[in-house]
Amino acid sequence: MAITVKFLSAFQDLTQGKKIFFVDQDRLSKILLDLERQIPGLKAKLLDQEGKIHPAYNVILIKGDIQQLCHDLDCKVEDGDELVIAPIVSGG
């Protein structure tokens, strides 16, 4: 099972500029645990004090041509899916 995680204009200080990571998990909660091992400090930034996805960021699940937001850590992923972690769009 291979899940691709992409960082888009987010957490580049923590990832040291690396934008793509690979994990082998089936739920967002497990993926974040895996990512935390690769990117120490990520969870503290991506999750809020209640342990939910920080409202300043979106975790977007991409299944082929279909995109959907992960609203909680229970979000299920499947082999070949892609997750993108990005700030919310807020004008400019």
């Binding site: 888009l8 204009s9 987010a10 920080h54 979106n58 993108v84 700030p87 769009v89 004008g91 400019g92």
Partner: protein
């Protein structure tokens, strides 16, 4: 206008400046505490904004003063020319530069140091400390601080809302060359901040030959990266930087000129305009063509004279069906958020008294979670692609964010959910400064009154429901990207307008009723 102009004007002892009439010859206005002079500005006429500022500030009597001026585009009454302040801050959109130009007023020079009385300074300091601490520690402004508004480019492309090829598509094949990280790795040269702000969203940029541009000007923000980038299929950040600087020097709005150039490029693509009309061939993404277009429009040279009127009037004159890809609402060019992927934004564009304005209401993405703005009653998650609930959201945010942030002259960025300047804190801060006792409801009512007053101005000028519309291109279905399958059918907009007018107390034709005006004290 962001930056220091508001503070300087207040320092002169004024809250607002109303300039009536017109001078027979070029002048500039010099205001200090207790003094207001109209001075000869003949030596400034024809100068760009940098030359103008330098000329004014080199006069010893203007030492330590602040300059707001127009460029040549404003002098030539380009309908989307702007007013700049200190080479970095712009009152863009809606052609404020042309208004100054029409009065032969080249610049306003401000130099007051009067302190603003504050009723409860201790409370103000405590509240500011609370807000600033949250901004620096709660994580909601981190990417804005690191990338500036370039934090939006990549996500907008991912979501399929990034206007590309004159809104024909909403994802850009060269996004990796102009997204936030690409800009940091190419033209980024530092950051600036407005007075007292801990975010520092303003980028400083620098480019060398062949596309040299200086750090002295305000760098391109997201809107400009898109309007002079993806919208015209330009994937070169240095070309964006150079084009941005040219627009700044001439004093012209980067959104409107990008949309105008995109319109002309599409006219070329479809054979409606040719080399004979323009004097040169114009292809999508062509750097030299982009620079020439900015000059032609700013100086009203050749076809630029017509294009300086905006895409609405230009397309009516050029015709041949080109009105269909002239992207405007009420004559103002559409900003860089495709409403097919954010439905509330579509209603906001259509119903704004200014025309298509991305700062007049809200951004749907901020409300895709529960309890986004509970103090204003928005607790239910709303998908950016849904229509339900958007009428009430747009109306309330037009008052709270669109109007009142401008009236209170507060930056809108920290007010966007989930950022920390919440309604309660903002009003507490205002009350501590003024000694008033406003509630959130009072605050919104003031916004509603202003919004209706502006609408009545528009009604007087013949604006009704027929003008609260979106360009027909948005009825086309997007075929790819994060908003694939989405369109903005006219019937859906009409449904939203019905709901929206009812909420506002307007007639089905979009005119405030006498009862509504009476309720708001505007009768």
């Amino acid at each position: 206008m962001r930056g220091r102009m508001g503070g300087f004007l207040k320092g002169c002892g004024y809250d607002a400046l109303v300039i009536e009439g017109r001078s027979d010859k070029p002048v500039y206005l010099r205001i200090s505490e207790g003094s207001c002079q109209i001075s000869d500005g003949g030596h400034l006429w024809g100068k760009d904004i940098q030359q103008t500022e330098k000329a004014i500030l080199s006069d010893p009597k203007n030492k330590n003063m602040m300059v707001a001026s127009i460029g040549v585009a404003g002098e030539k009454l380009v309908k989307y020319s702007n007013i700049n302040c200190e080479l970095q801050f712009f009152a863009g959109r809606t052609g404020a530069g042309a208004v100054m130009g029409s009065k032969n007023l080249k610049a306003i020079v401000l130099g007051g140091k009067r302190k603003t009385p504050v009723v409860d300074m201790k409370k103000v300091k405590n509240l500011l400390k609370e807000i600033n601490t949250k901004i620096q520690t709660d994580g909601t402004c981190d990417t804005l601080s690191k990338y500036g508004t370039w934090n939006t480019t990549g996500p907008a492309n991912l979501n399929g809302i990034l206007p590309t090829k004159n809104f024909q598509i909403t994802t850009f094949s060269e996004i990796n060359k102009i997204d936030g990280d690409a800009m940091l790795n190419t033209i980024y040269a530092g950051k600036r901040t407005c007075p007292g702000c801990p975010i520092g969203c303003r980028r400083v940029v620098k480019g060398e030959t062949p596309y040299s541009f200086s750090t002295e000007f305000g760098g391109p923000q997201y809107e400009t990266v898109a309007s002079l980038g993806s919208l015209i299929l330009n994937g070169n950040p240095y070309v964006i930087g150079k084009a941005n600087e040219l627009c700044n020097l001439y004093g012209i709005d980067t959104i409107s000129i990008g949309v105008t150039i995109a319109y002309v490029m599409e006219c070329f693509e479809k054979g409606i305009l040719t080399e004979k009309d323009l004097g040169f061939k114009l292809k999508w993404g062509d750097p030299e063509g982009i620079f020439k277009m900015i000059e032609m429009i700013s100086l009203r040279k050749g076809l630029g004279d017509l294009l300086a009127e905006g895409v609405k009037k230009a397309s009516q004159k050029i015709g041949k069906g080109s009105e269909q890809w002239a992207m405007h609402v009420k004559g103002m060019e559409v900003p860089m958020h495709d409403p097919r992927g954010k439905k509330g934004m579509g209603l906001a564009y259509a119903s704004s008294f200014k025309g298509a304005d991305h700062e007049s209401s809200m951004h749907d993405e901020a409300y895709q979670r529960e309890n986004a703005l509970p103090e204003l009653g928005f607790t239910v998650l709303m998908n950016r692609k849904q229509y339900d609930g958007k009428s009430a959201l747009v109306k309330t945010l037009q008052e709270y964010w669109g109007v009142m942030a401008d009236v209170a002259t507060i930056c809108k960025f920290p007010m966007i959910p989930p950022r920390p300047l919440k309604p309660g804190l903002l009003i507490e801060l205002m009350n501590a400064v003024t000694g008033w006792n406003l509630t959130i409801k009072d605050f919104l009512t003031i916004g509603e009154r202003i919004f209706n007053l502006a609408r009545m101005f528009n009604v007087r000028e013949g604006i009704t429901r027929k003008d609260d519309q979106l360009p027909s291109r948005f009825e086309e279905v997007l075929k790819e990207g994060g908003s694939a399958g989405e369109s903005y059918p006219k019937k859906e907009l009409e449904k939203l307008l019905d709901e929206y007018y009812k909420l506002r107390g307007w007639t089905p034709d979009g005119i405030p009723t006498s009862e509504t005006l009476k309720k708001l004290g505007l009768d």
